[in-house]
Every structure is written in C-alpha cells, then in structure tokens.
Amino acid sequence: MTVRLSVVSYRTPVHNDWCPGCGDFGILSSVQMALADLQIPPHQVAVFSGIGCSGKTPHYINAFGIHTLHGRVLPFALGAKLANPSLTVLAVGGDGDGLGIGAGHFVNTGRRNVDITYIVFDNGVYGLTKGQASPTLARGLKTKSLPKPNINDAINPIAIAVAAGYTFIARGYAYDTKHLKELIKMGIQHRGSAFINVLQPCPTYNDITTKEWYAGEDRVVEGKPLPRIYKLEDEGYDGEVKSADFDEMNAKKIQAITKSFEWGDRIPVGVFYRNNFIPSYEDRITENIKDYYSNPPAKQAIASADGRTIVSIDDILKEFLV
C-alpha cells in the first residue's frame, strides 16, 4: 500500500514560536513541500539543526528531528549519514551558527562531499540572542539592536562554499517558496554536499535587508517597485560542470565566485555551481570497504542471538603472537 504523502505528512502539532512575518516560515514550508514532492517517507529523513531561531526547525517537521548544538549541526548530520547512507539527511541552521561558531565544520564538510543538504538561514543577525551582527552583515551597517555600526566585514558564504569544495551551491529567498522548494529538491537529489544559502528577512532585528528592501520598494520606477532579487536561470547563467575536465571545473568555480559578489542593486538567486564529477565521501569509502552501502555501520549485525561477538580476530592476532 502506498499512501501519497502530502505536505501535511511532514507537519507536527508543535507550537511554532517564530515572530510573525519571520522568513523562517517560508524556509520551513519549502522543506516540507520538497519532501512531499520527492515522496520521501518521514522515517527515512533526518533533519538536523544548530542553535538559534532557525535551530527550532526540526521540531516543526515530522521526520527524525535533531536539534543539536550551536555551530555543530554538520558533524552530527555527517555522522548519521555515514553510519546509514540510505537516509536523506538535511542540515539547517543560522548564519551565525554555520558561518561563525561553526565555520570550521562548514569548510571541512566541503572537503568530504558527503551526500547531505545544508540550508543556511541568512538573516544577517543573531536572532535568538537578540540581534547582534552575524558574519554576513556588511561593514558599516547598523541594524536595529546594534549599539554601533558593524565594524567587521561580511563574509561571502557562496564563495567560501566554492573554495571549500561543495559540489552543489545555490542561493534561495525565503519568501519565494516555490523557487526555494525546487532548489531544495535539487540539493537532496544531488549526490554530494549541497549548500543552499537562503536570504531570510528577520523583521524583528534586521531593519536593513528587509522583505521590502529585497522587493525594491524603496526604488519605485513608473509606480512599480524594482525588485533586487533576480533568478540566475532567467538570465541564462549556467553553473553546471559538463565534463570532468579540470579547466572547465575551475572556470565554473571562478564564474560562481564572481557571480556571488554581485550584491546591492541586483541580487542573484538560483544555482551558482553544480558538479557531478566529484565522488561522494561514501563512494570514497567503498574503495576501502567494498560492501559499505549494503552493510554500513548502522546496519551491521555485531552479535549472535545470545550476545556473543561474531568477530573473529584470529587473523589479526597473528601479528602480536609470541
């Protein structure tokens, strides 16, 4: 019996305490829609999160939901995926979480290309601790609760993701759920580490990069706002690597990095870079453990029915026998 799964299948009755109008709602429903579109049974999905407003996301999703530590979402997610590679593993978290305290994990995850999808809620602030500057807030900006303008420069998450080795890199917008949903689906279906940075307005603490600002309501042309956000695919941008050719890969990486610096009047969303020619970490493991996919760590029998170990170390012991 196959029951068709709908968005409702991925909801929980847990009370959602995000501020009204928060961009997080859009990201949450995009994730749920993506899972429903792909018809992945909830028990085969594990959603991990860090700490922050964004960190509460798993509690609102009907799937294994693991709300971890500040900055540590990726190691948890990787551990689960490597122990059971048949799971669909999503990692979500704030920009402070992933690019500040968790920056080391963000970079090193790129080196491995484990098949997970990582979504960063980029609101420019530390929401849950009341609006301090996050690593993506530009220098000179003074959001509502900052006592002084920010004197740190912003980092560029897309460019870092390219340099770190992520093989699917995209940017979405929290209020364009249809588009974001498609990015998340592509991320899940991509075999390797997918990074999706989502522009997420925080109406409570970020009064600069607001929904209205993204929509260009401050610059009306002929009675109509001129939106800042545009879609890469609408302008013929193609971030996909077409062959395993080293030069082509590099050219596509440089293209993505160049594009990622476009900001201000025009802000691109969509797929910046996609490369299907880099083996996943799981594939790399199979070079040493041939049956890794069929007998991964979480699935291996370790004991007989009466609790005896089934391992034989007779052969290994030879090197120690005297």
Binding site: A46, G65, R72, F76, G79, L82, A83, N288, V311
Partner: protein
C-alpha cells in the same frame, strides 16, 4: 615461587630506530618464553631528541618497569650520559668504544639542568667531563663496562652482506646493540631472527642483514666478554602469548565489541588507536552463526568506518550522529581534545545517546607534557561539562583489562543510554607487554532497550517516555513509526522543547535515575578488583594504570614481611561507595596511590565516603610510577608515616 626480573634499557635519538630495536629485543625475549613489560619515553619531537625504552623481562609475571637498570644498551653518547646513573652495581653498560672521549658539553640535546646535575656529580667524583668519565664513575660503583667497536663491527657486516654504503650499514647499529644485549643475557639468537622477521614484515633483505649484524655482535661478545654478565633469566613453561601495546589492544577491543564507527582528531597518544583501526578496517566474521540472516548478509567480514575529523568537537558530535543512526560509535582522544568535547558530551547525556569516549590522559594542563604520562583527568571525566547529566567512567588497570573493558563500556552506554568515558592514559597506551591471548568468547554484547520496530497499537512512540528505571525504548533513524526528536534544550517525552518546571524535574530525575540503576545493577566484582593480601593491615586504593607497579611492589614487599591489600577501583562513576565503605573499615591505614598533584581520587573518596586516606603517594613529573617507587613509597607510608609522598624518578 620467586621470580627473577631483569631490567634492560635502550636509548638514542628519536628517529634512529630505538623503537624498533626495543621491539625486536622484547619480542625475542617473549618468543624465548619470558614475560615482558616495556614502556616508551619520548619527547614531543620527531627527529633528534632523546628517547628511550625501558624493558623488564622475567620468568614470572611482570607489570611495571623498575628504576634500577641491569643492562643499559647505548649506541650514542647522550644515552650513556643520561642513564649510566640508573645502572645498578653488578649491572652493565654497552657503549660505543669510540665515543669515550666526547665531551658531555658537546651534546646539544641535553637540557641545561640535566647537564649541570651531571657536571656536579662528576666534579664530586673528581673526574673530567667526558663520556669516559661518566663510565668511570659507573665502574667505581660496580658497573661492568662493555665497550663495543660499532664502526669496526659494521664494516664486518658490510663485508659479509656486500653492503658498501655507510648510511645503510649504520642503520644496523642498534641491531648490534640488541645482539650484544641478548648474548650477554644468554638469550638464544634464533629467537632474534623470528623477532626481526615479525617487526620488519615482508622485508626479507632487511631481516637477513640484521640477522648477520646480530651474529657479528654475538661473536664479538663470545670472544671478549664470555659469560661475564651475572644476570640471566630462563623461561619456565612456554605458552602462546600476545606482545601488544595498549592502543592496539583497545582497537581490537572495539572491533570485537561491535564498534563500527570511530572518529578522531590526531593527538598523542590517542591517535595510534584510530590509525590502527583504519589499518584494520575490514575484519573477519565467524562462520558459526549462519542461522542469523543479518550475520549471513555480512558475507564473512565486518567493517568499521574511521573518520579523521577537523577537530574534536566534530569528533564527538559525529559520534552522536552515528549512534543515533544505530551504530556502536566512539572517539578516542587525550586531554586537550577531551576539553573540546565537553559540550558534545553533555548533549549526548541530555539526549540519552550511547557514545563511548576513549580518553588517554597525558601530562596537563594545557599542552602540558604531550608525550608523557599523568592521571590528571579523573575529576574532569566525571564532572566535566556544564550542567548535570549521567555518565559512567570506567578505568582500566592494564592492557589486558583494557581489551575486555571496551565491550563493557559499550554495554554500559547502550544499557543506560548515556555517554561512557573509558579512561586510560599514556603509560597504558605506549607500553607493550606479554598478555594471555585475548579470548573474544568471554565477551557479551548487550544493546539494552534498543528496538528495531515500533508497534503503533501501543500508542505513539515516545523516545523519552517516563519509565520505572528511567530508561526508555530506543529506536534509530530509519525505524518506521519510530520517529523521535532530540534537543539540547530540556524536552518532553517526544523530545520537543519544554521549560515547564514539573516536566523539567521529572526529566532531570529520569536521566539521573539511570545512574542509580547502574549503581544498583553493576556487580561489585566489575567495579572494584581486590589484589594482594586481604587480611593485611594496610589497604592501598588506586585506579588505572598504577595497577601494575602496585601489584609488583606488594608482591615484593610480601617477601620482606610487609603485607598490603589493594583495591583497584575500575568504575569510578558511579562510585562504588558502599563497597568501599565496608571494605575500608577493616584496615588500619589507607594509602591512595595516583599520578597527579592534587590527589583527585583521594578527594573523590572523601567526598563519596567521608573517609580521608592516611597517606597519599603521588607523582606528576610525567613519568609513570616504577615498581621501585611504589615499593619505597609504601615503606615510607607505613614505616615513617609520611602523609604525602611525592615520587620523582624517570628520565
């Protein structure tokens, strides 16, 4: 029946093969049928600094090193200068006859305080400052001198093997030192050949030329010092044994215990374990269990995924992720790494995740003495991390125990669904000893309330359901109808955030209850091991790798009429309070032995039982207790009554 112990030492600059020559010597002795215990001392350095191996061989059990050296094998001046003082009267020093004129001030790696100490001793003896003068002082103390013309012997080896290159030949210098040692000790040369082929696996040419070198050495000894060395030991009955290091034993323990996911960030001395695991990633499965479908699916072999992470924070948290997916998972680290794991350990405690951390203590604080020994993390392993959560802390006393304890650690973790710290140390990690062949059939695997499916007629699955014993059924990722949530926040039975005070109370009590259950369930015999003379007037209390030196010392002291009982505490959390309270009343004096400054175990003992130990024997210079130090320390305690005794030996 008394046993004979002979202590042998070899030293040299790091990177010149001291390790492998000690390994070859030890194996040759072990193959001969002797028991062997060897410890390695080295600087946090790759090439050039002094390192040495201290080995005890015996016809009886041997579990520790001793300060007195019977035979010192050297091939460089620094080893002579540093260690000649440790050789006992009647013992011997093997040295390079060409080096006697070297000035001790010309040894660049000798630290100033060491040099000054030696200069003072030499001037007190009224001699000069050469290597020869050091040897002269030793000779006056009754030490026999064995000058070896290494250069000449190497040339001979060159003639025999056809090897012309001096650099290739000089690599055999230490084999000559080993050959001379074995000859002086009358250990048959044929065992050396077997040992060499084990150590230099598959390098037949290397083995062959080294055998030749040893023969040349042996010939030289016969011609010059025949039956001159007074100490020797012969094996009793020969049984098959393992000669193995602590890190390898733990790695094997993990494979056997079903650990299938290991993470690590490189750190001394813990990473040897993970590197060994990665090297033995795929292993055999018994074919005797074909009736189990799951076992059949393995097709005769199992495997472990080993991940080198970006830091220890990732290491512990990846382990939690893997454990939630259903794998037995662990990480191995040392002090600085364990500090970084504190937050992750608390998360696992809060979410009742079975994780095992193998903690190899080393000299702290901070980077401390990265390659040296200490037991400075007892209290941190029990209390480290913010807030309160249950954890079990298990301390192994020696290499053999460590192998079997790994399975216990995993069983505790899964049974009580909480983190377990398996606390070990550098001394155990880097010693090698002969042990009885490991017997995996003694091991039982207990996965506790792990379930593979959930029957919805029982209602919604609740990961943190309140139960009598505080332990709830545990599903893993992928279990249909078994979905759960985890959070580091306080949570309800489903795993969703709550700040409701009464729920908080109940959840806190649920988690802590598990420690009470563990305390009630785990038998005393698994928690405390009694050694020595139960009816003695004095009780020694200790934990961890001090075990060997203590047992060796009390066996020795028994021959002098001094009797001790020894309680080796293995499960330090939950603490065996009642058992120790009862036990301690039966003794006149209590002596705590441990390797730290503050006496952490003594403190814990007092906190838990209200009993203050009468004597504390401690050491914190980074070198493990020798048998000799414990022997002397126990005498100081019971004869002179000193309350705090600090030991300071070791090079």
């Amino acid at each position: 029946m008394g046993s004979t112990k002979i202590s042998w030492m070899i030293g040299g600059a790091q990177g010149t093969g001291v390790d492998s020559s000690a390994n070859v010597f030890s194996r040759a002795a072990a193959i001969y049928g002797l028991n062997v215990f060897g410890k390695r001392e080295y600087y946090s350095n790759i090439k050039g600094e002094h390192s040495y191996f201290s080995v005890v061989i015996s016809d009886g059990p041997v579990r520790s090193t001793m300060d007195e050296v019977h035979l010192l094998a050297t091939f460089d001046s620094e080893t002579v200068v540093r260690h000649a003082w440790e050789v006992m009267g009647g013992g011997g020093i093997i040295y390079d006859s060409m080096a006697v004129n070297e000035k001790i001030t010309s040894i660049p790696t000798l630290e100033k305080p060491v040099l000054e100490r030696i200069q003072m001793r030499l001037s007190r003896e009224g001699v000069g400052e050469t290597v020869g003068d050091v040897l002269e002082v030793a000779r006056r103390g009754g030490v026999r001198l064995y000058p070896i013309p290494y250069m000449e012997l190497l040339k001979k080896v060159g003639e025999l093997t056809g090897e012309q290159q001096l650099s290739a030949l000089s690599r055999m210098t230490n084999t000559i030192a080993v050959g001379v040692s074995l000859s002086l000790l009358s250990i048959p040369m044929n065992h050396l050949e077997t040992a060499l082929s084990q150590v230099f696996r598959a390098k037949a040419k290397v083995v062959k030329s080294n055998v030749l070198a040893a023969e040349v050495a042996s010939e030289y000894v016969k011609n010059h010092f025949a039956s001159d060395f007074p100490y020797r030991v012969e094996p009793r009955a020969k049984t098959k044994k393992l000669f193995i290091s602590g890190t390898s034993a733990v790695a094997l323990g993990k494979i056997v215990a079903g650990c299938r996911f290991q993470t690590y960030y490189p750190i001394t001395p813990a990473s040897d374990e993970s590197v060994y695991l990665e090297d033995h990633q795929v292993f055999d499965i018994y074919h005797e269990y074909p009736h189990l479908k799951e076992v059949e699916e393995l097709n005769g072999h199992g495997s472990i995924v080993v991940v080198q992470t970006e830091d220890e924070i990732a290491a512990i948290n990846m382990v939690s992720g893997a454990a939630l997916a259903g794998a037995r998972a662990s990480t191995a680290t040392s002090g600085p790494g364990f500090d970084l794991m504190a937050e992750g350990l608390g998360w696992a405690g809060m979410n009742e995740v079975p994780v095992v951390v193998t903690l190899y203590q080393r000299g702290g604080p901070s980077t401390g003495l990265p390659t040296r020994h200490e037991q400075g993390e007892l209290l941190f392993s029990i209390f480290g991390g913010h807030g309160e959560f249950p954890r079990l802390v298990l301390a192994s006393g020696d290499i053999e125990e460590a192998f079997y304890d790994v399975a216990r650690a995993f069983n505790y973790a899964e049974r009580y669904q909480t983190p377990v710290v398996h606390i070990l140390d550098k001394a155990l990690a880097n010693s090698n000893m002969t042990v009885d062949v490991f017997d995996p059939s003694k091991i039982r695997i207990d996965r506790g309330k792990l379930i593979t499916s959930w029957d919805t007629s029982l209602g919604t699955y609740k990961r943190f359901k309140f139960t009598e014993d505080g332990i709830s059924y545990r599903t893993v990722f992928g279990t249909e109808n078994g979905i759960f949530w985890n959070t580091g926040d306080e949570h309800d039975e489903l795993g969703h955030i709550t700040e409701e005070p009464s729920l908080r109370d109940r959840m806190m009590e649920k988690r802590m209850k598990k420690l009470e259950i563990a305390d009630a369930e785990i038998p005393d015999s698994e928690r405390v091991i009694l050694h020595g003379d139960y009816d003695a007037p004095y009780l020694i209390l200790s934990w961890g790798s001090t075990k060997g030196a203590i047992i060796d010392a009390i066996e020795y002291l028994a021959s002098e009429g001094l009797r001790f009982a020894f309680a080796q505490v293995k499960l330090v959390n939950p603490f065996p309070t009642r058992f120790l309270q009862n036990l301690m009343t039966q003794y006149r004096k209590l002596i705590v032995v441990e390797q730290n400054f503050t006496g952490q175990f003594a403190l814990l003992l007092r906190a838990k039982t209200g009993v203050q130990a009468d004597h504390l024997i401690v050491k914190y210079n980074g070198r493990p207790f020798s048998f000799s130090e414990i022997r002397d320390g126990l005498k100081e305690a019971v004869i002179h009554g000193s309350p705090r005794i600090v030991k300071r030996s070791g090079g």
